[in-house]
Amino acid sequence: MQIKEDTLNYLAHLGRIELEAQESKILSGQLKDILDFIDQLKKVDIKDVSATSHILSISNVLRDDLSGESLTREDALKNAPVKEGNFFVVPKVIE
């Protein structure tokens, strides 16, 4: 399946990544390969296979409602590109 340029640009936008023309070319080829690879599944006979939403056959993994330790603020903010006081700081997001 060929990946159209529009589709690729749309996906790049959803993922918030900018692509150079050269990268676009490489990625559309790789995406095609991935989709073709996955498409092989269409040939499998799944008549007797029940639908699943998870790869493991386990369910109901729950924990008790107990509050425990959180990170220290120093650790939480350690890798933030921009911080101020106790806050992460990001570019303005509303007009």
Binding site: L14, R16, S53, H54, I55, L56, I58, S59, N60, V61, L62, R63, D64, D65, L66, S67, G68, E69, S70, L71, R73, A76, L77, V82, E84, G85, N86, F87, F88, V89, V90, P91, K92, V93, I94, E95
Partner: protein, 474 residues
């Protein structure tokens, strides 16, 4: 004016758990920014979510209370979008298999019963909080990951008042269930509305707008009323509506379009691979159902039947679980036949005091047994209705028993004729003109003399007895 509004409401609710939905961070409100975060709720690579079972069971409980079918099999999905309040760049939510669906809430609007359909109740996680400044935004992730319940109605609400009544009863129901604080000021309950209008003859839905930023139920009602008028005006003048999100401005009392650089959202939902699915066994469901207390609507109907209360009084008393408990203790133990005598105190003086102090009835230092005693004194005319109000005020501020206050302040009502004789004598002597007027047939003059006698007794005389005595004397 032949347009019909069509409204659907979406309520988001913080569940009252100690820890977040998928990690052990505390959910306590108002702590230092970014002090309740961990690798899971900050979305660090390699961290894994594990669902909080209290949040899960609260969701089931709410679904049952809203008459929903509970899914036997449910799962979580990733809702993908980029926004700085969302550390993982996806929200763990539920897409096609919500915990509960197809329910309803029976409300009453302008005296008429109405059933509001519920499409779904699902569990998700809240995002962080953004504080916007001139040139940047500050992010606090303490709220990120708090369990959030989304409750969506069918587009079956047809007026702003119905929307208000639905929200009021929903909130009260949730408080009875004890699954949330429902505090709009703290953001633990939020409401968005979808609204459109259509000609009454039409069956298809009109173009809708989504309303956001209402921070009270009154705000929701006002925003809907404004938006309905706006839509009717646009359509009436031959214009066309566009589907958009509009923000309510509580100062200007207007909605305005939310400016957004984004095109239509494309969330690319897919099953959350980090959480295995959940099976809700029938017996577990039945067990949770048994834990559901009597809900506000049932309580209103029972109060009306058992204590012969008016629909209005019953609704006022049952609107909060704690007040209903207090009221019922009064109603059960009050031996008078006409429960209205004690209900008037509960819904009147007592409730207004509680409201002004922002506390429940039980927070007023007045025990049900002391209130019953006070009402009894009024009935036996041992204290006037007016003095009883003074006594109640003292009871509220000191927590002392009514008989002590009446004795100390000398407020007991004077009924016996010999004690009243002197006051009446004085009143007659000082107001010969009024006496004459009454004798010439002016009824008002008698009431004036009653008033004068009351004054002389410092409000302690029983006005009925005074009136009788005056009639006999002049």
């Amino acid at each position: 004016m032949n347009y019909q509004p069509v409204i659907g409401l979406e309520v988001h609710l913080h569940l009252k758990t100690k820890s977040k939905a998928f990690c052990g961070c505390s959910t306590e409100f108002g702590k230092e920014p970014n002090s309740q975060v961990c690798p899971v709720c900050l979305g660090f690579p390699g961290s894994l979510p594990v669902l909080n079972q209290t949040a899960f069971f609260y969701a089931v409980k709410t679904g049952l209370a809203l008459n929903c079918s509970i899914a036997e099999f449910t799962k979580f999905d990733r809702k993908n979008y980029y926004y700085p309040d969302l550390p993982k760049n996806y929200q763990i939510s539920q897409y096609d298999m919500p915990i509960a669906s197809e329910g309803f809430l029976d409300i009453e609007s302008e005296g008429k019963p109405k059933r509001v359909g519920i499409i779904r109740v699902h569990l998700e996680e809240d995002a962080g909080k953004l504080i916007h400044r001139d040139d940047s935004s500050c992010v606090d992730f303490n709220r990120a990951g708090i369990p959030l319940l989304e409750i969506v109605t069918k587009p079956e609400i047809n007026s702003p008042l119905e929307a208000y009544e639905y929200l009021t009863l929903l909130k009260s129901t949730l408080e009875y269930l004890d699954v949330s604080d429902c505090d709009m000021e703290k953001g633990s309950l939020r409401c968005d509305a979808n609204v459109s209008v259509r000609k009454k003859s039409e069956t298809t839905l009109g173009t809708k707008t989504e309303l956001k930023n209402m921070n009270s139920f009154k705000g929701v009602r006002d925003a809907l009323a404004y938006e309905i008028d706006r839509q009717i005006e646009v359509l009436g003048s031959g214009g066309k509506l566009i589907q958009e999100t509009r923000l309510w401005d509580p100062q200007k009392l207007k909605t305005h379009p939310m400016r957004s650089k984004e095109e239509a959202m494309d969330y690319r939902y897919f099953p959350e691979p980090d959480l295995p699915p959940f099976v809700i066994a029938k017996d577990k469901c039945a067990q949770i159902k048994r834990e559901i207390p009597e809900l506000p609507r049932q309580k209103v109907l029972r109060f009306m039947k058992e204590y012969n209360l008016s629909a209005y009084d019953a609704r006022v008393l049952a609107s909060s679980k704690s007040n209903a408990l207090y009221a019922e203790e009064c109603l059960v133990n009050y031996s008078g036949k006409d429960k209205k005598q004690i209900v008037n105190w509960l819904t009147g003086a007592l409730l207004s005091q509680a409201r002004s102090r922002n506390c429940p009835l039980s927070g007023l230092k007045v025990t049900p047994s002391d209130l019953i005693k006070l009402v009894g004194f009024v009935e036996k005319q041992q204290v006037s209705a007016l003095s009883a109000k003074t006594v109640l005020a003292q009871m509220i501020s000191t927590g002392r028993a009514p008989e002590e206050i009446i004795k100390e302040k000398n407020l007991s009502q004077i009924c016996d004729e010999s004690s009243l004789e002197a006051f009446i004598e004085e009143a007659i002597k000082e107001n010969p003109k009024s006496v004459k007027d009454y004798q010439q047939g002016k009824q008002n003059a008698l009431m004036f003399l009653v008033g004068q006698t009351m004054k002389k007794s410092k409000g302690k005389a029983n006005p009925k007895v005074v009136q009788e005595l005056l009639k006999r004397r002049i």
